[in-house]
Symmetry: C2
Subunit: 136 residues, 2 copies
């Protein structure tokens, strides 16, 4: 598996944990040995694993949370870090997101997430299978 | 200057170029040897230096663009990559932003930017001078 595919896989795992409301899986996807930050839609920037994971616990355990789908993920690998961008469809609303990963103990883990609203939709020529560049 | 300070400096330079409508300065702040991506507020994710810089030229040359200020920048350095988060105040509206940097030829340059609306304001206990962790 290329590094690019490995990042796409980690990005998909993030959205699977999100869609399944699976906090344990979500917790494993975030870095433990590096500082993490997160900007939920409309929120302020959050710093630190304890605070970030507490908010994920709240989001994932909320029974009124809408189903989420990740569309059109694209990744770029920069050595031991990577940026994934994608659309998030939640309850009929479209968001755009940035997910930043680093390689920790040979595994790609999240160190940062931001999602916010977009007026755009994924375009038909968007490569919905993901892909993109890789620099090592 | 610590790596953390160097990233804060690059982040400040980004907002100075933005505030001054200085396209030439903006162009120098983005990576040339690595793929770049950008998500302007409400837009779709943009890929590739040519497209990203074309949108900055449009944004910076728009005479109706509002003045921008960066508030409460925080950075985390992960070796040769770094994430900065901050608030952006534009024409009385508050946004939150993620700026991802990598070290290219010993200089911290942007490879990704996302900004989107927030309902929050920088809190009084926010360290407006910036700062944060560093991992090398």
């Amino acid at each position: 598996m290329s590094e690019n595919d490995a990042v796409l896989f980690a990005n998909d795992a993030f959205y699977q944990a999100f869609a399944n409301g699976d906090y344990d899986a979500m917790e494993e996807l975030w870095a433990t040995g590096y500082p993490v930050t997160c900007i939920h839609p409309g929120w302020n920037p959050l710093e630190g694993r304890d605070l970030v994971m507490a908010t994920w616990k709240m989001v994932l355990s909320n029974p009124s949370s809408q189903k989420i789908s990740c569309l059109g993920p694209k990744t770029v690998v920069y050595g031991d870090s990577a940026v994934a961008t994608c659309y998030e469809e939640i309850g009929g609303e479209m968001l755009v997101a940035s997910n930043v990963f680093i390689k920790e103990d040979k595994k790609w883990v999240l160190v940062h997430h931001q999602a916010g609203p977009t007026a755009m939709e994924p375009t038909p020529d968007l490569d919905l299978e993901g892909g993109s560049g890789q620099i090592n």
